[in-house]
């Protein structure tokens, strides 16, 4: 899932022989089988546990974790599931709520049960930020902060020296209760990034916040009521904090209500996981936990009829049913009141209708509701925009990028930009499509200390940033690589040492005597700047040695004017030997005697 699509995120990664499933979400738009990922894609027969090494959940939104109980309990998976602590805490609340709506309200059967959620949660392993978890001997994962919602994390999956980073959903700009996503320069082979806002660069959040606060403030001062339909978790807390601090700062007295439900439980967790919030909340929680709202109280149905100004947060966010709709009906008639839609509304909902300017709504039972209240739209989204995505790529410096969780057309644009600006290849597979990324794996080799010291002693001081040429033998034995000195290799393998010598004949036109020729060659070699550091010797038996390389001269059997120089060297001195041959092939300078 999530390939050129938003919803039911579910990505399979095979890295160095390990299979990892990233996220296990459901799709909001479907009510049939399509709402869950197709797990038969992984394997037709046999248990999933055998095929997957681990499952990682990035955060608690249902499009990232909604299918988890179905996957682990109904399809069957017993391996480890990794998520962060806040996600583990809040995820079951949301799943339970989701189950209730589907089963109890819509009356579906063949759905997972509460027990299944509990069983599924037992398989979860919680991880801390920046904690490296060894899944098995080779596979390790590490979580990074991602912003977005409480507990959202990006995961680095590493096998050997190959690594993948999966971002989940993330936000690069901090907001009132969460910080910005951050990752170190981990240089993964592949970065899998969401791209919800691939083609958008957003305005500063301050303007949005200010507008929002100003509208609420004005309405309240006028004595009007403000209705803010929200989804239970995530943005709702953000808006609460925003209003709460504003009320505090401005000494306002009008009550703020939050329609209860699962929020209360979730709020409790928000209070607990202070370390996951932003700087301000972390710094001040000793004096006062920001999530212990002073001005925000639980909402009761009866309060809606109270006179005087008030602000109410009510679920659901699109005004299609439930409490928010009830309150909306009560307040719609008064032009002093206001409704603020903080997010996107699906077509067909009341929210969408009023946003598109409809003033007369047909409700159930043929009633006509005239909307006199003000309708405002305010976008508070916690996804990274195009600039944010680019910024993350810059931070992590991946070798390849893969885009998911977005619309194909928008991805196309971003893909082109990424390739152009970072010069890395970028992929955007559709659902069910497999992308193969070629990596340049490095293979660690053990080297014996003696050899290392011996080799580094030769030549200039080692510089860690530059590759250095070494002389040794690579031993591949018992599934391990070792670099040892040739002698040791011979000893270990029980082989006798063979001497390998290269000999080469060089013809030189020189009419003089052999020993004179030798002398000339000797003088020539002595005069070479390159050979300054090598010992060049003229032996009494008429041969020349340059280190261990032997040069002899004999007269050509047929032509006395041509001397044959015999150059012989062992294979260890290959470099020097070939240099000498090349040098001699050029001939001797005429002037030397």
């Amino acid at each position: 899932g999530a390939g050129q699509d938003v919803g039911r995120s579910c990505i399979l990664v095979s890295i160095a022989g390990k299979n990892v499933m990233l996220d296990c979400g459901m799709h909001m738009g479907y009510n049939d089988d399509r709402r869950f990922p197709d797990f038969s894609y992984i394997t037709q027969n046999g248990r999933l546990t055998d095929f997957l090494d681990c499952v990682i959940i990035s955060h608690f939104h249902l499009d990232h974790c909604g299918a988890l109980p179905y996957f682990s309990e109904m399809v069957g998976y017993d391996g480890p599931i990794y998520m962060t602590h806040p996600t583990k805490a809040i995820c079951p609340i949301l799943l339970e709520d989701y189950r209730k709506i589907t089963v109890d309200k819509k009356g579906e059967t063949n759905f997972f049960t509460s027990q299944m959620i509990k069983d599924c949660m037992k398989k979860v392993v919680a991880v801390h930020l920046h904690q490296t978890v060894q899944v098995d001997e080779e596979l390790e994962i590490k979580a990074y902060y991602a912003g977005h919602v409480l507990g959202a994390a990006m995961f680095q999956i590493k096998v050997g020296c190959e690594s993948v980073v999966y971002t989940g959903d993330y936000n690069m700009t901090p907001d009132r209760h969460l910080g910005a996503a951050w990752i170190d320069k981990c240089r993964p082979d592949l970065l899998i990034s969401e791209s919800t806002y691939a083609t958008t660069i957003r305005d500063s959040k301050r303007c949005r916040e200010r507008d929002f606060l100003k509208k609420v403030h004005e309405t309240v001062e006028r004595g009007g009521k403000v209705l803010i339909p929200v989804f239970a978790l995530g943005r709702a807390q953000e808006l609460c904090i925003l209003l709460e601090t504003f009320w505090e700062r401005m000494n306002l007295k009008a009550p703020i209500y939050f329609s209860t439900g699962l929020t209360e439980k979730a709020n409790h967790y928000y209070k607990l996981f202070i370390t996951w919030t932003n700087q301000k909340i972390r710094k001040t929680f000793v004096q006062r936990n920001m999530f212990e709202f002073k001005h925000i109280k639980a909402f009761d149905r009866a309060f809606a009829d109270n006179p005087g100004p008030m602000v109410v947060f009510a679920t659901p966010g699109m005004l299609h049913a439930g409490q928010s709709l009830q309150i909306f009906r009560k307040w719609a008639g008064n032009e002093k009141n206001m409704v603020i839609m903080p997010g996107y509304c699906v077509q067909g909902t009341v929210g969408h209708k009023i946003l598109s300017g409809q003033r007369k709504l047909e409700m159930e039972g043929r009633q006509i509701l005239e909307v006199k209240m003000q309708v405002e739209y305010m976008s508070f989204s916690a996804h990274a925009d195009a600039k944010g995505i680019m910024q993350l790529i810059r931070q992590a410096e991946p070798r390849n990028v893969l885009l998911v969780h977005g619309e194909a057309k928008k991805m196309e644009f971003l893909k082109q930009k990424i390739e152009q600006e970072f010069r890395v290849s970028c992929y955007m597979p559709a659902n069910g499509e497999t992308t193969t990324v070629f990596t340049n794996p490095c293979i660690p080799v053990d080297i014996s200390l003696g050899l290392l010291k011996r080799e580094t002693a030769i030549g200039p001081l080692p510089d860690a940033k530059k590759p250095k040429l070494m002389h040794g033998t690579l031993l591949m034995k018992d599934n391990s690589f070792r670099l040892v000195s040739p002698e040791q290799a011979l000893k270990e393998l029980g082989l006798a040492e063979h001497q390998l010598r290269f000999t080469c004949r060089v013809h030189i036109q020189d009419p003089r005597k052999e020993h004179e020729t030798v002398l000339r060659v000797y003088n020539h070699l002595k005069g070479q700047v390159v050979l300054k550091d090598y010992s060049v010797q003229h032996l009494p038996d008429g041969s020349i040695t340059v280190e261990s390389i032997l040069i002899q001269a004999t007269a050509h059997s047929e032509d006395q004017g041509t001397k044959v120089l015999l150059v012989s060297w062992t294979y260890q001195d290959e470099e020097l030997g070939s240099y000498l041959t090349a040098l001699l092939k050029k001939g001797l300078p005429a002037g030397t005697s």
């Binding site: 901090p174 301050r206 606060l213 100003k214 509208k215 301000k280």
Partner: protein, 969 residues
């Protein structure tokens, strides 16, 4: 009294008592060990194991060493150093060597050779590093000696190839601190150290260890600080370091780039990947901007801070920093700022927002969009939205500095600053308000911006509101609606927070005088006058009405047509306010209304210049008429003092000066009076009453002189001399009086001796000023000094008496600026009738909020005194963090005072006041005692506070009603 108070304080804070005990004991230890070196030698020889030796060394390090014995100690240490096998002990010895060579007064050149020698055979990297550190200390003490420096640099270069990062680090540090700076030195030296230091350091920019890389950059910066001109070639190297993996390297590299951009702003560098070229400062600016979105917040803060000081950058680049092209679904979108501006210019502001109002308009060419610009794009937009408030504050500061130098940029950044007013952290909000104030000369607020600014007036934090009032004082508003809006919001603020009254009035005063033409059309509405009907007269005591009047009167000052719109009662109110709130209401020229204003105005209207003249004239008069008969002098002095006091009340700018001189004259008057007493010469103790007067005068003069010395800021040494002189006279008077009233000579001996000592110390302290004091008391006294020392007390007294009477009156030169320290307690107000109840024996916290003006070093001097009805007094030292500094010369004390008492039967009032503690030893001439760098434990001890002589109350006491209840059982 002072002694009593002191005792009381020590009782309250047991901590102080402890420290008092510790101090002498530390001294004792020092005295009992006369020969440190010998003791150390014995100790070290005794040591059997490295651990033992280490213990001895540690103990040794706790105590300081006298300058004379340093060298001996060093020798012994070195001796042991060579013998020692254990690296940790050698390390400790090396560090001790460093500490020892820091000893003040010791010149380490004698031990340098030994220190260098130790390096040769050392194998341990850690000890090597420590030894190099020691050399660094030695080198910094001997900076004037070039040969030592070259030698040390040479040593450092030799060890640069060491494989340990610590050693290389220290070497680079050494080179940075001691490397030759002048070109000449480098040429003349024939040895290796004359190599180009920059090149040596530059080679280590690519070291494998990030710590060494950082050290290399730091060394380079150090060279720059010491005055070496860095080469431009380093720039490209430094740019590469910006992409380093380690944050400390990046952070240092940003600094280096900044330094280079300041050195070579105009040179041209090519842009990679294209054949264009730009100025180096622009390129550097772009690069640093890029670092504002770095992964590490330390680097971000660094980058944001440095941006502010790059003023040579071209405006094109500057403006890019605020630019962030918005788009939505690939279509260009306008920012909210642009929309607001457009709405404003099209004249239909505040239309309700519709769904899709911000719908994107034109399509963008996909190719043209550059998501990560290499340039400066949006750096500030990112910086201001950063997660860490440190970065945000740094960005705001940078904005401020850039905007101050570029008006057009100021105009552009306004929107962003206004946005920062809504930051979640108060410090950031405050900072941005201050910033806005600083650049307010360059900007005019649009109405929508003003709206946002004014919304912050409702903030519950007092600091924020006051800062905002200050901001409004100096902003320019463009329309009359703007003025009206501001007034309305300020009045709203006034009703919500009545304590802001003064600040709001002041704000409106400036608002009015800056925008007379904008206020003019608003006048009828504001005064609610009607062309035909008389409207009821508003309540004169209503702060809101006063606020409106302040605005109007200040506008009317430069708008002569305005008074025509006033109704009768407005004129009456003007007269009243002109007198009661003269600092807020300016003098107006009212046509045909001379009668009304004349009774008040003439005495008040003198402008600044005449009043200053008046001050000087009256002083001249006093000084010139010295030879008048005593009666005449007294009268003249009395009149002048009265004049000066009145002047001080009227002219706030001159208040400090007038008060200061008045006090001085008062002292003189008292002295004259005391000496003029008719019965003075008659034999002594019978005239108790007269004596009481003289001794009281002496006492008062002493008190006044302390006030003069410590309560005024801007007092120069010339004045201090005269004050001290006056004090000396008072002491002489005291001595004479005591001599007259006491029988027997015994006590007099001591007093005389003490007095003579004081004369002596006076001479020593102010030797340079003595020539100016011809004919004065002290001048004559010093002439007679040889006689005084030998003579008997009775004779001394006689001499003193005659000199005192003959001495002339010293002319008090006035300093340029003189301000009297004042304090006003804002809270508690002292008006509450509800007693503060608490259980006896427990503690209650009382919030104290006060403004202090012209107090130097308030953290050290300002104390809070609580006076209980039973005469108990408590002095509380506020924490340093309780003081804030909202403006130059102003401080604000917000603290909590803890009260406690045994049970009372009924509520009673306690008094709270602020005191200014002074210390006569804290003479302005005395330099700070250099602290010895020898031992940490010594530094931790506070300097003995031997000289707190007393305190001066400098605020009106406030009464607080409290009621300690008996504890319930």
């Amino acid at each position: 009294m002072a002694a009593h108070l002191k005792k009381r304080v020590y009782e309250e804070f047991t901590k102080v008592v402890q420290q008092q005990h510790e101090d002498p004991s530390a001294k004792k230890l020092r005295l009992t060990k006369p020969s440190k070196s010998a003791a150390l030698h014995v100790d070290l020889c005794k040591a059997t194991s490295p651990a033992d030796a280490l213990q001895y060394l540690l103990q040794f390090a706790r105590k300081p060493v006298e300058v004379e014995s340093v060298e001996g100690v060093v020798r012994i240490l070195l001796e042991h150093y060579y013998k020692e096998n254990d690296a940790s002990v050698r390390l400790k010895i090396a560090s001790l060597l460093g500490l020892l060579s820091k000893t003040a007064g010791f010149s380490p050149d004698c031990i340098m050779d030994d220190a260098i020698n130790t390096l040769q055979n050392e194998k341990s990297h850690q000890v090597l590093a420590q030894l190099l550190d020691t050399l660094l200390v030695i080198g910094t003490k001997l900076t004037e000696n070039p040969s030592v420096r070259t030698r040390l640099v040479e040593v450092a270069c030799k060890h640069l190839t060491d494989s340990s990062h610590g050693v290389r680090n220290k070497c680079l540090q050494l080179i940075g601190c001691l490397g030759p700076v002048e070109k000449g030195v480098a040429k003349e030296g024939e040895n290796q150290a004359a190599k180009d230091v920059q090149k040596i350091i530059g080679d280590h920019f690519n070291d494998q260890d990030p710590r060494v890389r950082t050290a290399a950059i730091k060394a380079m910066l150090q060279l720059h600080e010491r005055g070496l001109k860095l080469q431009q070639a380093i720039y490209s190297q430094a740019c590469k370091l910006l992409a380093d993996d380690y944050e400390q390297v990046r952070s240092a590299a940003v600094q280096l780039i900044w330094v280079l951009s300041q050195l070579y702003p105009e040179s041209i560098v090519p842009i990679p990947s294209s054949n264009e070229e730009i100025r180096l400062v622009d390129d550097a600016f772009g690069k640093i901007c890029h670092m504002v979105s770095d992964g590490s917040w330390v680097v971000r803060v660094q980058a944001a801070k440095l941006l502010g000081s790059m003023q040579q950058v071209s405006s094109h680049f500057l403006e890019q920093t605020l630019d962030k092209k918005l788009m939505s679904d690939l279509r260009r979108k306008r920012t909210a700022h642009e929309r607001a501006k457009e709405l404003y210019s099209s004249g239909e502001f505040s239309s309700g927002r519709k769904w899709g109002d911000d719908a994107p308009k034109e399509e963008i060419d996909t190719g043209a969009v550059n998501l990560i610009e290499s340039g400066a794009c949006g750096a500030f937009v990112h910086g201001l939205e950063d997660e860490m408030y440190e970065v945000r504050i740094a960005a705001v500061e940078a904005l401020c500095m850039l905007a101050q130098s570029s008006p057009s940029f100021a105009e552009k950044c306004l929107d962003f600053l206004v946005d920062m007013f809504n930051d979640e952290i108060e410090e950031v909000r405050l900072q941005s308000i201050h910033t806005m104030r600083k650049i307010s000369n360059n900007i005019t607020l649009r109405e929508d911006q003003l709206d946002t600014v004014l919304a912050v007036l409702e903030d519950s934090s007092r600091d924020i509101r006051e800062a905002l009032h200050e901001l409004l004082c100096c902003t320019n508003v463009s329309t009359k609606e703007g003025i009206h809006l501001a007034l309305v919001e300020l009045l709203k603020n006034l009703t919500k927070y009545p304590t802001d009254r003064e600040s709001i009035w002041k704000c409106l005063k400036f608002l009015g005088s800056r925008h007379p033409t904008l206020v003019l059309p608003l006048v009828p509405e504001l005064l609610s006058t009607h062309p035909f009907f008389d409207t009821p007269e508003p309540d004169m005591d209503d702060p809101a009405y006063i606020a409106v009047l302040v605005l109007i009167f200040n506008a009317a000052q430069s708008c002569p047509t305005m008074p025509a719109l006033f109704s009768d009662h407005t004129f009456r109110h003007y007269a009243y306010l002109r007198d009661s709130l003269s600092h807020l209401v300016p003098p107006l020229r009212l046509p045909g209304r001379k009668l009304l204003s004349s009774p008040v105005s003439p005495s008040i209207t003198p402008h600044e210049d005449p009043s200053q003249q008046f001050l000087h004239q009256s002083l001249e008069r006093v000084y010139n008429l010295q030879h008048l008969d005593p009666q005449g002098i007294q009268e003249l002095l009395e009149f002048t003092i009265r004049d000066l006091q009145r002047l001080g009340e009227l002219q706030s700018e001159l208040a400090g000066m007038a008060d200061f001189t008045a006090t001085y004259l008062q002292c003189q008057l008292l002295l004259i009076k005391a000496l003029q007493e008719k019965l003075w010469n008659v034999a002594a103790p019978l005239y108790l009453k007269q004596n009481a007067l003289a001794s009281a005068a002496a006492k008062q003069i002493l008190e006044e002189t302390y006030k003069m010395e410590f309560m005024y800021s801007g007092v120069e040494s010339r004045q201090v001399v005269i004050i001290h002189h006056m004090r000396l006279q008072a002491k002489a008077l005291q001595l004479i009086v005591t001599a007259r009233t006491t029988r027997g000579v015994e006590p007099l001996f001591g007093m005389c001796e003490k007095f003579l000592q004081e004369v002596d110390s006076f001479q020593r302290c102010f030797i340079s000023e003595l020539p100016h004091m011809q004919g004065s008391f002290v001048d004559k006294l010093l002439d007679l000094m040889p006689r005084l020392v030998t003579s008997k007390p009775s004779e001394v007294v006689k001499i003193l008496q005659t000199t005192l009477r003959q001495s002339t009156f010293l002319h008090l030169p006035l300093p340029e600026q003189l301000h009297r320290a004042t304090a006003t307690i804002i809270e508690p107000t002292g008006e509450s009738d509800n007693p503060l109840r608490f259980t006896s024996g427990l503690v209650v916290a009382l919030d104290v909020d006060a403004t202090l003006e012209h107090v130097q070093d308030p953290q050290g001097t300002v104390k809070v005194q609580v006076l209980y009805p039973d005469g108990q007094a408590q002095i509380i030292h506020p924490k340093p963090a309780d003081f804030r500094n909202p403006g130059p010369g102003r401080h604000r004390l917000i603290t909590q005072v803890y009260l406690s008492h045994t049970a009372w039967t009924e509520p009673c009032q306690i008094e709270v006041r602020l005191l200014l503690a002074y210390n006569s030893n804290r003479s302005k001439a005395s330099a700070k005692i250099p602290k010895s760098g020898w031992s940490e434990s010594l530094e931790a001890l506070p300097q003995p506070e031997n000289g707190i002589e007393g305190t001066i109350p400098f605020s009106k006491p406030v009464k607080v009603y409290i009621m300690p209840k008996p504890a319930r059982r």
